[in-house]
Symmetry: C2
Subunit: 222 residues, 2 copies
C-alpha cells in the first residue's frame, strides 16, 4: 500500500486528502469571490465575479462526486482542511475591491501551482480530474486588467498592494506548513514524488518563480 494506492487499485490516503482539500478550497473560493463581488464598483464587475464564483462551485461538485464514487463522504474528506483554510481566509480578508482581486489572482495562482505539482504524482483518473478543476476560470485576465488600470490611475496603490501580496504569501506558507505537518500521507507523497528534499526545494523554486511572474503581470514588485 502506498499513499496514492490502497494496494487494491483504489485511491490511497494522499489522493483522498488532495481531493478533500481541493473540494474545500473550491467551496471557500466560491465564498470569497461572492463576497468580493459585492465590493465591485460596477454591476458588470459584480456579475463577472459572481460568474467566476459559480464556476468554482461546479468544480467543487465534480470533486465531491469523485469522492462519492470512491465510497467516501465528501464532508469527512474536507473536514481536516476546514480549519487551516478558514484561518487563511479569516487572516487575509480583503477590505477593498483591489485587495480582493490581488488575493484571488496571486493567492489562488500560488495554490493552483502547488496543487498542480502534487497532482502530477497521482494516477489517473484523479490526476486528470484535478488538473481539469484547476483550469483557469477567466479570472486572471480580468484581475490583471483591473489592477493595472487602477495603478495607472494612482501610482501609490502599487506599494500598498505589493505589501498586501507579501502578507498573503506569508499567511499561505504558515497554513500550508500546518497542513503538511498534520497530514503524513500528503508529506510522504510530496517527498517521494519529488524524489528527495532537493526535489522539494526545486518545486518551491518553481512556485516562487511563477509567483514573481504574476506579481510583475499586475505591475507589482515581487
Amino acid at each position: 500500500m502506498s499513499s496514492v494506492d490502497a494496494g487494491d487499485g483504489t485511491a490511497g490516503p494522499a489522493v483522498v486528502d488532495l481531493l478533500g482539500v481541493l473540494a474545500y478550497a473550491e467551496l471557500t473560493a466560491f465564498d470569497r469571490l461572492a463576497e468580493d463581488a459585492r465590493l465591485a464598483p460596477t454591476l458588470a464587475g459584480r456579475a463577472a465575479l459572481a460568474r467566476m464564483a459559480a464556476a468554482e462551485i461546479g468544480h467543487h461538485q465534480r470533486l465531491c462526486d469523485r469522492l462519492g464514487e470512491l465510497g467516501l463522504d465528501p464532508a469527512a474528506a474536507m473536514a481536516p482542511f476546514t480549519g487551516p483554510l478558514d484561518a487563511f481566509h479569516d487572516g487575509t480578508r480583503a477590505s477593498t475591491w483591489l485587495e480582493g482581486l490581488v488575493k484571488a489572482y496571486v493567492g489562488d495562482g500560488l495554490a493552483r501551482d502547488f496543487y498542480r505539482e502534487v497532482a502530477a504524482f497521482l494516477p489517473d483518473p484523479d490526476r486528470g480530474l484535478v488538473l481539469d478543476v484547476l483550469a483557469e476560470t477567466g479570472y486572471a485576465d480580468f484581475a490583471v486588467r483591473e489592477v493595472r488600470a487602477a495603478i495607472a490611475a494612482d501610482r501609490r496603490l502599487s506599494g500598498r498592494l505589493a505589501l498586501w501580496a507579501r502578507r498573503l504569501v506569508g499567511e499561505a506558507l504558515t497554513q500550508s506548513q500546518a497542513v503538511i505537518a498534520d497530514r503524513d500521507d500528503l508529506a510522504d507523497l510530496l517527498i517521494t514524488g519529488t524524489g528527495d528534499l532537493n526535489g522539494v526545494a526545486d518545486l518551491l523554486q518553481r512556485l516562487m518563480d511563477a509567483h514573481g511572474d504574476r506579481m510583475r503581470a499586475l505591475g507589482l514588485n515581487p
Copy 2:
C-alpha cells in the same frame, strides 16, 4: 407603439423593464444565497446553497445576453431597480440559517409568481425566456425539508418564523409599490394585461393564495 412592442416588432419599454428587473433580481438572489450559505450548519447545506446561487447567476447571464441582443446595455436596464431591490434586501437581512431559508422560499416564491403573471402578457421569445429563468432551482424542497425538521425539533420556532415571513411580505409590497409607481410602462402592462382593476385584484388574490400554500408547506400559519 405599446408597452410590449416598440411598433417595429422590437421589444417595448415594459419588456425591457421586466428583463432588467429580473436580471438584477437574479444577481441579488445570487448574493443572498451565497451569504446565507455561510450560515449553514453543515458543509453539505453550505454546498447546496452555493449550487443554487450558481444557478441564479446562469439565469442572470441569459437575461443579460437577451438585453444585449436587443441592443441594450444590461447595466442601464437594471439601474432603475437596484434601489428598491437593495432596499428590500437590506431591510430583511436574515440573521439565522432558518430565516434565510424562509426568506428564499417565501419571498422568492412570491416574486416568482408575480413575474410569471406579468410574463404571460409578453410576446415570445421573451415570455419563454422569462418563464424559463423562473423555473425552480431545487430550492423549494430543500427549504421545506430543513424548516419542517427544525420546527419539529423546537415548536417555538413556528411563531417566530411566521412573524418573519409577514415582515418579508410587508417589505416586498412596499418596494413593489415603489417600482410600479415609478415605471409607468410596467403599470400599464399590468392593467391592460389583466383587463382592468378587477383583473389586478384577481391577480393579487392568486398571489396571496399561493403564498398561503407555501406558508402551510413550511408548517407556518399564513
